[in-house]
C-alpha cells in the first residue's frame, strides 16, 4: 500500500547502510493452522520509544499486506520514510515519548522475518515448500516474539487493513494480551470480491515464465512483470474512483494527443506502471502469493464456530480490552459495513467498543494518508 518513490539505485548499489536490522529467533517451533509447524522462526522488528520498567507501555503495530517493520524509520531498500511516520513518533498520535512501539515483519514476508525466500533446513530457499500460513499464524508468531521480549500484556495492538485483521485475531485468540485494540479500515473476513482481486494478482505472478514454479531464487530471473501487474491491480483497489479522477482525470502523459498505440498515453497508466515496477524492487513475489492467501483464508467467525460474537467471547465482561474500529467512507475494499459487522459482534459479546466512519477522499489508503480526524481518533483512543 502507499506509493512508490523513485528507488535510489546508487545508494542501494553502494549499500547505503540502514541501521542494523533487528531480529530475534523464536525458541519454539511455530504451530500453524495447516497442521504443519515452522521451525527456527526469525522475527525481524523495529522498536521506537522506551519500554517502561513495569513493561506496560508497549504498543504493537501490525503492518498491512506489503508493509514492513519500518513503521517510522527509513526503509532500507527504498530509502523512503517509514510507512506510518506521520502517525508514529515523538508527540505524534502514537507517541513514542510515551509508548514503546514495536513493529515486526510478519512471517511469510520478505523483510527479515521467516518467509518463502528464507533458507529451509536443507540450506535452499523454501520457495513453494514454505507452508501456507494464515492471519492467526502471523499473530501466533507475533505473540511468540512478545514472549521472547518478556512483554506479557500490550498497552495496545494497532493495525490497518491486514494489520487490523491481525489486531482482531489477536483479540479473539489471545484475549489477555492487549488492553486496547485499534482496528482501522479492516474486515473480519475476506469477501468474494477481495479474494477475486487477490487471485488476479496471484495468477499474474504465476503466469510469468520467470516465476519458475516459485523456484526463481538464485536463477537471475524473477517474476517482476507478474508481480508488477499484481501490484497494479491491487493498487486500484486501494484508491477511490473519485481520488483517481481528481488526481489524473483523462490527462495524457507527456503528449498532446493519444498515440494510437499501447504506450502509457494516460497519466493514470504511467502512474500504475511506476507503482508496479517500484514494488518489484522491494517485494518478493512468493511472499505476495503467501500473504494474499493468508488474507483470503481469513474469516474470524469461521474460526469460532461460525459466529463472530463467539470469537470475542473472551471479552464478555469487558475487562480484557477496549476496542475501537475506524472505517473510511470511500474505502470499497473493506467498506464501512464490514467494520459495523465487527462492531455488532463486539456489542453482542458485551465488549466495550467505539466505532467511527471517517470521511476521506483516498479510498482504502486513507488510513496511511493525511486524515486529521484519524489522528484525533487514534490519539484519543490511546490516551483517553
Amino acid at each position: 500500500m502507499g506509493s512508490e518513490t523513485p528507488p535510489d539505485l546508487a545508494a542501494r548499489e553502494d549499500g547505503a547502510a540502514p541501521a542494523a536490522p533487528r531480529s530475534l529467533g523464536l525458541s519454539r517451533p511455530l504451530p500453524l493452522d495447516s497442521g504443519q509447524s515452522l521451525e527456527r522462526v526469525t522475527m525481524a522488528y523495529e522498536t521506537y520509544g522506551n519500554l517502561s520498567t513495569a513493561r506496560d507501555n508497549a504498543v504493537l503495530i501490525c503492518h498491512a499486506l506489503t508493509g514492513d517493520q519500518y513503521v517510522a524509520s527509513t526503509h532500507p531498500r527504498t530509502g523512503k520514510p517509514g510507512w506510518w511516520a506521520r502517525m508514529v513518533g515523538p508527540g505524534l498520535p502514537i507517541d513514542t515519548d510515551k509508548f514503546h512501539v514495536i513493529c515486526a515483519n510478519v512471517i511469510g514476508s520478505c523483510l527479515g522475518s521467516t518467509g518463502p525466500a528464507s533458507l529451509a533446513e536443507d540450506g535452499e530457499p523454501y520457495a513453494m515448500r514454505f507452508p501456507v500460513i494464515t492471519i492467526r499464524d502471523m499473530v501466533r508468531a507475533l505473540v511468540g516474539m512478545l514472549d521472547e521480549m518478556g512483554i506479557e500484556r500490550l498497552y495496545s495492538v494497532v493495525g490497518g487493513s491486514m494489520g487490523g485483521m491481525q489486531a482482531l485475531s489477536m483479540a479473539a485468540n489471545f484475549p489477555g494480551r492487549a488492553g486496547r485494540v485499534l482496528a482501522i479500515a479492516t474486515t473480519s473476513r475476506h469477501s468474494a470480491q477481495n479474494i477475486a482481486f487477490h487471485e488476479l494478482g496471484r495468477q499474474a505472478i504465476m503466469a510469468d515464465p520467470d516465476w519458475q514454479q516459485g523456484a526463481y531464487y538464485g536463477t537471475g530471473r524473477a517474476p517482476g512483470a507478474g508481480l508488477s501487474v499484481a501490484r497494479m491491480a491491487a493498487h486500484i483497489t486501494y484508491l477511490s474512483e473519485d481520488g483517481l479522477t481528481r488526481k489524473f482525470g483523462r490527462r495524457l502523459q507527456d503528449r498532446d494527443a493519444v498515440g494510437f498505440g499501447f504506450d502509457a498515453d494516460f497519466q493514470v497508466e504511467s502512474y500504475l506502471r511506476y507503482q508496479g515496477s517500484g514494488f518489484t524492487r522491494r517485494f518478493d513475489a512468493n511472499s505476495y502469493l503467501y500473504i494474499t492467501r493468508a488474507m483470503d483464508y481469513f474469516d474470524l467467525a469461521e474460526e469460532h464456530g461460525g459466529q463472530l460474537a463467539r470469537a470475542f467471547a473472551g471479552h464478555r465482561r469487558g475487562t480484557e480490552a477496549r476496542f475501537c474500529l475506524v472505517s473510511f467512507d470511500t474505502d470499497w475494499l473493506y467498506p464501512t459495513a464490514e467494520s459495523r459487522h465487527v462492531v455488532h459482534a463486539l456489542n453482542a459479546a458485551g465488549a466495550p467498543v467505539s466505532f467511527v466512519e471517517l470521511s476521506a477522499p483516498y479510498g482504502h489508503d486513507s488510513f496511511l494518508l493525511d486524515v486529521p480526524a484519524l489522528d484525533r481518533v487514534v490519539a484519543g483512543f490511546l490516551h483517553g
Partner: protein, 202 residues
Amino acid sequence: MVEGVEALRPDLAVIFRSVEAGSRALDVGCGDGALMAALRDHKQVDARGIEIDGAMVERCVARGLSVVQGDADRDLACYPDGAFDYAILSQTLQTAERPDRMLKELLRVGRRAFVSFPNFAYWRMRWALVRRGRMPVTRHLPVSWYETQNIHHVTVRDFEALAHDLGIGIERCWFFTGTRECGRGAANWRAEHALFELARAD
C-alpha cells in the same frame, strides 16, 4: 454536586442522580458523552453510547468512552436482550422513525429506560400556534418545521397514552421549564420538557 455534573443539562442531571452506582447503561444519542463520563467517573457505571454524529463520537473516544457511530433506529437491534440495566434516550424520541418501536427496543436491551423529550403542548407552544397559526419556533425547538430533525412531535399526555398502550410502566417522571424542575401539576401545560423513567410491565 460533583465535578462535571453541574454542567449537565437538567434532565441529564436527574438521570445521573437516579442511575444506580455500578450498573450498566446504554446512552442512545449520547452527544459528546457528558452524561456517560459523569456516570463512569462518579458512579462507576459501565456506560456505552450510540451517536450518529461522527464529530461527537470522536470527542467521546478522546474521553475514553466506548461509543459507536450509528443510527438508533437501526443499530439498537444488534444489542442482546437485557444487556443493560438502563437504556437512556434523552431529547431524541421525537427524531425516531417510529417512537413506539424505539421504546420497545429500549426496554428490550435495558431493564429500565430513561426517556426525555420536549413537550409540544407546553403553553408557549400552544400560544404561538394559536396566535400566529404557524409551527412554533422556540428556545427548545429552535429549528423551522422544514429542517427540524423532530419528525414526531409529542406531548406529555401523548407519551403517557403510548406507554399505557405498549404496556410500559411509568416508574417516575420529572418536568422542567427552562433549566428548572417544575411540579407535576398541569405538566402538559407547564412543562417545556419531560423525563420519564420506564420499566417493563412484567
